[in-house]
Amino acid sequence: MSKPKLRTRLASLSFSEKIKILEKLRDREKAIAAAGLRRSKPDKDRATDGQEHAASQRTV
């Protein structure tokens, strides 16, 4: 099914059905967040990849 057709089909669902999808999307977002794949905010103290690489080079 083409993307526009799928969008139209999803948009034509009842509000109750859409809410069920929305709940599933939210559960998925929460599961991804809980898996620790995202940092909530950038850690300024953390060295960048480049800095870490340079440090490892020095210790060799």
Binding site: A11, I19, L25, E29
Partner: protein, 206 residues
């Protein structure tokens, strides 16, 4: 039913004594993981006179008209009964929900699993949006959703990137009545903002 009624009454008594029930025995909001249950709690709050009219806005509101899009919260535009002065406190809402197991989290109150942001209708556009909201239901729980045209007007006024994106979705999916939208924009002084939006995003697409 009797059990539910008992729990509700018990909660009212303990709330009035400022003595919270232990977690797991609180009524209404326990094991509430769905939007349906959250709306039931909100409808109860309306029946109890804590809030006046309400209508769902934001991404959940837009979902009524468009394809579902991931969101973490429920935006609720509300009026407060008998409110006439400029200074209005949302604390009665927070107290009411806290007594029923709701938890305050930043600008939200978490009702069951859903963080709800109560947005007090502060001007003509928002009051009109509540008044013109569309009646619907979520699994037989009655509720109201802001009209597509009012959602677009509010999104235009807020003007963040995600709001502009939502407007584009509405236009792309032909989810708004352009004539109705134009009248709303004129009534609330948003015409020049709309022209800016058109210049920025729609030039060359018509």
């Amino acid at each position: 039913m009797v059990h539910k009624q008992f729990l509700r009454e018990a909660a009212e008594v303990t709330a009035s004594r400022n003595f919270p029930l232990p977690l797991g025995t609180r009524p209404d909001l326990v094991d509430n993981h769905s939007v349906k249950a959250t709306l039931e709690a909100i409808n109860q709050m309306q029946a109890d006179g804590v809030i006046g009219a309400y209508a769902i806005g934001g991404a959940v509101g837009a979902t009524f008209y468009l394809e579902p899009a991931a969101t973490v919260d429920l935006d609720l535009f509300i009026t407060i009964p008998g409110e006439s002065s400029g200074l209005v406190s949302l604390s009665p809402i927070y107290e009411h929900l806290k007594a029923r197991g709701g938890k305050v989290q930043d600008e939200y109150i978490v009702i069951g699993e859903w963080p709800v942001q109560f947005l007090l209708a502060a001007d003509g556009l928002e009051l009109e949006a509540i008044a013109c909201a569309v009646e619907t239901d979520v699994e037989d729980v009655p509720t109201r959703v802001i009209s597509a045209e009012h959602l677009v007007a509010i999104a235009l006024r807020v003007g963040r990137l995600k709001d502009h994106n939502r407007i584009l979705q509405f236009l792309d999916q032909e989810g708004v009545d352009r004539e109705k939208l134009q009248k709303i924009l004129e009534r609330h002084g948003l015409t020049s903002k709309w022209q800016d939006f058109e210049r920025r995003y729609l030039e060359g697409t018509r």
